[in-house]
């Protein structure tokens, strides 16, 4: 078929955008679950959960959309990542299920409330860790023969991926705590102010390890950073700057900035990761064009996506608008 546009690049953009949206948005509500066991008291937990209750499942839409979109636009990613991360994917799904169901039932429970709290917390931590391990595995690369994954069941579980897994747990916790700074007041907010710098230090440690380690996994990435493209150094620098902004605004007790700047840390790290690997989508062998589906399939679905993404964005903004402002005890008013 004639190919007037390179749809593969457009799809890479859509999927990349979808993943970013997912990480930022589900990140802060997964963060609530991660921080749950450390919350000062039960009332604080209620407030934390209430602060994300109206929006969390809209946030998760991006994951489902991304999964289905991957199969349609980059089948090779789907058919290599999922077998390679087999156990991890199961943990991710199980975590999300437990967490999702806790949102439904914790509000309806009286005596069994503590069970749903645990379900919420453990589910969130497991899901966040699994996602971090996926990122680590992507950085490490996959063992393939032809177009098929041939590695073992636990290749994805290495010291490095454990670090990225824990890193994302801490990162999401930071998104969660800065979200609380923005959305709550009083006791919960004080607590969030107190833990945020610690989480920030944790996250920056992982950030440093990943930055130092990644270029040494393959020559390709190393060359990108050290030889040909010096402009990209601006990305980690911006990420560091954002970290500094979080820190200074927490000290000044500014409510909104820490959350925005934390999103900045995520955004610039993510972009940094993408430029390291571009255009490899199943490292170390396959580029986005190797992994792409047929032109007419990409086109067929693009129509649907172009229709639905604006609707999702509009609907998302609308919900966030409705639930703007601080959560009071007992929820939004």
């Amino acid at each position: 078929m004639e190919q007037p546009f390179d749809l593969t690049v457009i799809w890479a953009g859509i999927i990349g955008f979808g993943i970013m949206m997912y990480v930022l948005m589900d990140g802060f509500d997964l963060g609530q679950g991660i921080l749950f066991p450390f919350a000062p008291n039960e009332k604080a937990r209620d407030t934390m959960m209430n602060s994300v209750a109206p929006i969390w499942d809209g946030n998760e839409t991006w994951l489902v959309l991304g999964g289905a979109g991957l199969l349609a636009a980059f089948p090779l990613v789907y058919s290599v990542f999922l077998p390679a991360l087999y156990i991890g994917v199961f943990l991710l799904l199980a975590g999300l299920i437990f967490r999702g169901i806790a949102f439904e039932f914790r509000f309806k429970a009286k005596t069994s409330k503590y069970l749903w709290s645990w379900s919420f917390s453990v589910g969130s931590i497991v899901a966040a860790f699994a996602q971090g391990a996926v990122v680590g595995t992507y950085i490490q690369g996959f063992k393939t023969e032809g177009f098929v994954y041939v590695g073992g069941a636990l290749d994805w579980l290495t010291p490095f991926t454990v670090i990225t897994g824990l890193g994302l747990v801490v990162g999401y916790a930071l998104l969660g705590s800065t979200w609380l700074i923005m959305k709550t007041e009083g006791e919960v907010q004080d607590w969030a102010y107190k833990i945020t710098p610690k989480l920030l230090v944790g996250l920056m440690t992982v950030f440093a390890i990943v930055c130092v380690y990644t270029p040494f996994i393959d020559e390709y990435v190393k060359a990108r950073w050290f030889d040909n493209l010096s402009i990209i150094w601006v990305l980690p620098v911006l990420a560091l700057y954002c970290a500094f902004v979080v820190f200074s605004n927490v000290r000044k007790r500014k409510d909104g900035m820490p959350f925005v700047a934390t999103m900045g840390i995520f955004l610039f790290s993510y972009l940094g990761l993408l430029v390291s690997k571009w255009p490899y989508i199943v490292p170390p062998k396959f580029t986005i064009w190797d992994a792409a589906s047929a032109y007419n399939s990409q086109l067929f679905l693009l129509i649907g996506f172009l229709f639905v993404i604006p609707i999702i964005l509009a609907y998302t903004s609308w919900t966030y608008w409705v639930f703007r402002g601080k959560v009071k005890e007992g929820g939004y008013h």
Binding site: N50, A53, P54, D57, G58, T61, V64, L65, G67, A68, G69, L71, A72, A73, P75, L76, Y78, S79, L82, P83, Y86, I87, V89, F90, L93, A94, L96, I97, F98, G100, I101, F103, E104, F105, F107, K108, A109, K110, T111, S112, F147, V148, Y149, G151, G152, A153, S293, A294, N296, S297, F300, L301, F305, F307, V308, I311, I312, Y315, G331, Y332
Partner: protein
Amino acid sequence: MELDPLMLSRIQFAFVVCFHAIFPVFTIGLASTIAGFETLAYKTGDPVWHRLSKFWIQVFAVVFGIGVVSGIVMSFQFGTNWSNFSYATANFLGPVLSYEVITAFFLEASFLGVLLFGRDKVPQGVHLFAAIMVASGTFISSFWILAANSLMQTPDGLELINGMYHVKSWTDSIFNPSFGYRFMHMVVASFLTAALVVAGVSAWFVLQKREFVANRKALSVALWFLLILAPVQAVIGDFHGLNTLKYQPTKVAAMEGNWETSSGVPLLLFAIPDNENQTNHFEVGIPKLASFVLTHDWDGEVPGLKDVPVEEQPPVLIVFWSFRIMVALGLLMIAFAVWGLFLRIKGRYYQSTYFLNGLRLMSLSPFIAVLAGWVVTESGRAPWLIYGQMTHAQGLTPSLTGGMALFTLIGYIVVYSLVFSAGVYYLLKVFRGGVEKANAPHEMEEVERPMRPFSAAHVAIDEEI
């Protein structure tokens, strides 16, 4: 013993998808039921329809919630356990499954919230419109998913290039030869499911004299639907079978338990098919009837299993008996519909305790029939994943080991049992609350949370001690 990843993956997929199927089948029918109640409320202004709609919306909310959660797992199953299959079919399956998600999302975002929470906030007409849109959304969702499945049964419009199917014609591949029959059969199955559950639950309330007026009306409507739909389903099923005969003769041979291609084949009522010895034990049948049903000719020729090599035969015992369970339940539904009609003529369909208690039991029958039907369809396709083109073994994820498959199989069983027993337990509480509670002030004072299906149900999950 060596663990077989293929067998374990098949069990896992069957478990997960059967689990999922139960819920959408119910929501599709129920969404239309609610749209129906809302229409009646709008047209007649009789508050009884409102009361009923409020109750069934709560049930809908919970079933829908569980359906979504289990559906999310499905969309990853293809990649984890059947990666060769998903890679090969991605050009078709990818867009089609994505369209399912898009549709589901679109309806959820736009109209579900209005249906569940908007009753007092929007004009009645808008609320009715939302109900109709939610119902249409469920059909569009099933449209896509059944197109995907039908393509695996009767592939069409595709071209295999370098190990990957390419779509030559979207219309041929979506509207493939078995799609129309499967879609109709499934839609009617969902309607029957809703009709029988509404009938069963209303019968139970009527027996207890709870909200008598409303529940009697619901019972009456459900019985009318049953009377029309149950026979229609049998007719559609017959056509579906004829289509299968044309495109998947081996599957029909397995459904009939017929080993040798021959004419004047009996319809077996009982038999123990035996793949190993290529024969049936303890046959009891009605002479020539199978030939007649399948070819509309008493001496018509029916294909036999031995036409294909032994390793291309499906597990006959499973297919044979699942088919009989489905058809028997279908006939039982017709019988109940006719019984209901007789009682109605005598004016006492809401008085006969035998009938009402029978209906209570019958509310489980559509679920069993649906699962049995899917087992016929899917096991009857074995060993093919894409009929005639790719086997289960070829579609399996190459790196998958028996240990990995066993781990996740047990994992899913544990997760599903925990989570869904909570879900079903809660659903039963909503049922027990009945129409009264759905219309009473809320038991649980809740934070406003739009779009969360469960929030539409206001019953506590546990008791205060």
